[in-house]
């Protein structure tokens, strides 16, 4: 069995970016394993009407893969998916992707210094390093509602949209009012006969001004790349400043809340509806929602917000605790993803047979979110505590890709058998992270998908994006156990 230099699991934004970064560093022996039949990950899966990114595209893209042609400030999912595909094409990555390869688990062979990758229904593959780029938003999650199997109408998850279903004239129920829901609802209201929106907790909604990029500006970005970099920097520092109010509870948090409340007052006149839509947690504690269309859509004649607790699903619809069965032809679950805050997306067996899922059962942790002690030559994208609350995920991702591609280059250049982060360094890092998290809005008392059931925050990075990027700028080999490959024994000359 041949051993490849690098296996990349997942061909979404992270996997494609990792491949490009490796190639740019002169590493060419890598393979991407993708369970789907197309690239794009989250952006391939999330094709619901209205799907868009709430971070400006200039910033929600890689600085090493420029795109002067973004059509709007905030792009839709199609355009983002097109960007990922064009990156793959530009770097000739398609031939490196094994589609329909579902990785079932990985196991480290310490004596040989390689990972064995089990693939469903296929021969295993060996790789010296593995990049786990499976992404936190890969697995759609249906909520644990009683009677969910009893419902006989059509069920759609926002991340697995059914484009064949015609909503025209249909009675639709939407469960969830998070980031996907506020994009889907205005689109459904345009089409369906009625839309009932089932809300558990309202989120903070901030305005989003989405402008078309003028041809002149695109031309400027094409011809003067520095102007595009400048625009990106401006967006970056603009978002960084927001951290002061969103990451930590400060007087600026009140300013963010004032903006949210002003938008609510301006767009919703009925006091009771306004009360129902007013969050009872600090801005930033849960993901901020960016939209101008959501509140007006809720007030259309064919739309209704329902805040009664859901008692159960019945054959025909949703029964809420006020005793009414809200019948629907179709229920859209905009209920997010099964984010790995504990356990691992695939079984991972490290040194001495240790199992990462067991170690992470109370909540995941890592060293700088990228590496885990006991699991050498393995690198995570969007690992524990790398989530941004205020800035572009791609900025964080790019820092991870730079770091891991540098580490992999070191492994290959120095022919290392193991590059394993030291436990004490990892523990010290995490103690500091958890200490810093106590002062953040995410740990201020609300229940969000950032936290485990026990309230452990394994998701977010408690600081500025700049701090996150800086800590990943250099690979400190002192923080790692570095074991070189056993030099091959010189061949003994045959005695004639």
């Amino acid at each position: 069995m041949k051993t490849i230099d690098v296996a990349i699991i997942g061909a979404g934004f992270a996997g494609i970016g990792a491949a490009i970064r490796l190639r740019q560093k002169g590493i060419h022996d890598f393979t991407l394993f993708e369970r789907g039949t197309k690239i794009g990950g989250t952006w391939r899966d999330n094709t619901y009407p209205g799907a868009a990114c709430d971070i400006p595209s200039r910033l929600y893209s890689y600085s090493f893969a420029r795109n002067p042609d973004w059509s709007h400030t905030y792009s839709g999912s199609n355009e983002i998916l097109g960007y990922i595909e064009s990156m793959a094409a530009d770097y000739g990555l398609h031939e490196r992707i094994r589609f329909g390869h579902t990785v079932a688990g990985i196991e480290f062979d310490e004596s040989a210094g390689h990972w064995t990758i089990d693939i469903e229904g296929r021969d295993p593959v060996r790789a010296r390093s593995v990049v786990l780029a499976s992404g936190p938003l890969a697995n759609a999650s249906f909520p644990a509602i009683r009677g969910i199997e009893d419902y006989e109408g059509h069920k759609i998850h926002s991340a697995r949209w059914d484009h064949d279903y015609d909503f025209t004239g249909k009675k639709v129920a939407v469960v969830g009012t998070g980031a996907s829901a506020v994009q889907i609802i205005p689109e459904l209201v345009k089409q369906a006969a009625s839309v009932k929106v089932f809300q558990r907790t309202p989120g903070w909604v901030l305005p989003r001004v989405n402008r078309r990029t003028s041809p002149l500006l695109k031309q400027l970005y094409r011809q003067v790349p520095a102007s595009e970099s400048l625009a990106r920097q401006a967006w970056f520092y603009g978002h960084e400043s927001v951290a002061l109010g969103v990451v930590w509870n400060t007087p600026l948090t009140r300013v963010v809340e004032m903006v949210g409340k002003a938008q609510l007052r301006r767009q919703v006149k009925d006091p009771w509806l306004r009360r129902q839509l007013t969050p009872d947690f600090r801005a930033g504690c849960k993901r901020l929602l960016m939209t101008d269309d959501y509140y007006p859509a809720l007030q259309q004649d064919n739309c209704k917000l329902i805040t009664w607790p859901i008692a159960r699903l019945s054959e025909k619809g949703i029964r809420t605790a006020e005793g009414v069965e809200h019948q629907a032809d179709c229920i859209v679950f905009a209920t997010g993803f099964d984010v790995s805050k504990a356990g691992t997306p695939i079984p991972i067996v490290g040194r001495d047979g240790r199992v990462l899922a067991q170690e992470w059962s109370k909540g995941a942790y890592a060293y700088k979110s990228v590496a885990v002690s006991g699991y050498p030559n393995l690198f995570f994208t969007f690992g524990p505590n790398s989530g941004p609350g205020h800035n572009s995920a791609l900025v964080y991702m790019e820092a991870q890709l730079d770091y891991l591609s540098g580490a992999i280059k070191t492994i290959l250049d120095r022919d290392l058998r193991l590059l394993d982060v030291r436990r004490e360094k990892q523990d010290r890092y995490n103690a500091a992270i958890q200490r810093r998290l106590t002062a953040t809005t995410w740990n201020s008392g609300c229940h969000s998908w950032y936290l485990t059931e026990d309230g452990f925050n394994a998701t977010m990075y408690p600081g500025f994006a700049t701090q996150y990027v800086n800590q990943l700028r250099t690979l400190k080999l002192d923080d790692y156990e570095v074991v070189e490959s056993v030099p091959a024994r010189p061949k003994i000359a045959a005695v004639s």
Binding site: W272, A311, V324
Partner: protein
Amino acid sequence: MAMDFDDMLRKIKDRQWALADIEWDAPGAEMISPELHAKLKPFMADLMWIENVGARGFAAMAKKAPTETLREIYRYFHAEEQKHANAELALMRRWGMLDGDEIPQPNINVKLVIDFLDQYADSMSLSFLGTVIPMLEVALDGALVKFIMDEIEDPVCQEVFKRINADESRHLAVDFAVMDVLGHAEIRKLLIELVGGWVKPTFMIGVLSYVPLLNKMRDNIVAMGVDEEKLYAALKRYGNVGERSEFARRLPMYQIVKMHGGWVINRHHPYHLVADALVKITARVPKVLLRKDPTWSKEITYEPAA
């Protein structure tokens, strides 16, 4: 022993029922005599609206509760009060008391209380709401529900109120458990909250709405030909149950509400001169002075499916 609120929340979720679980067209509606029909109609309309008083109170408490479990419990209680109102409306429809789709209006005193709660409940402290709402629940909801169960033989009505009663007993259990928890606070804090609550000018509006409500409901019960002692027994229950908790007794607001209950059940107390006068005065409040009904009050429905 302190209540396990997580366990209570599980119980509440397990025992949810819906209007669709009741066979509204089942026989028995004919058991309401024309004479009873005439008396019952305004009584049911008031009862239905009193459920909304409790609903609005719980909605405010859901915002104040100190833990997520308790917040969730109050969210359910808010919805359950609405469910009771919906079920009572559905009974009125069953008995042919509704004129088309029109929702009957409550009496002026209920309206004033709803209006007050809608404006001010969200700014009241949990210790205020947590002591007053239980009194409204035992006195009005509890007594009136008991009256219906004693007087109306229609089996569908019996089934509905059996379910409502079961819900209400959980509401009261939580109400008193929360009072016990609130009573653990330092006396200094409790007094500050008490003074802080009473000095608000809006609070007087609340008192002026609450006082005639109890007397008005007593008048209604008497008009139905029922012994007012039933209402008084319910009012006494507030004190009886509250006294069982050493900590609820420490709540100054509990003592005030209990004392007021004592005045209400003593027909010779001079308090009634004021309360009965207020019933007469409020009955003359011109409609133009009342605020528009809040949109939540229009959520009421007799339809099991929407």
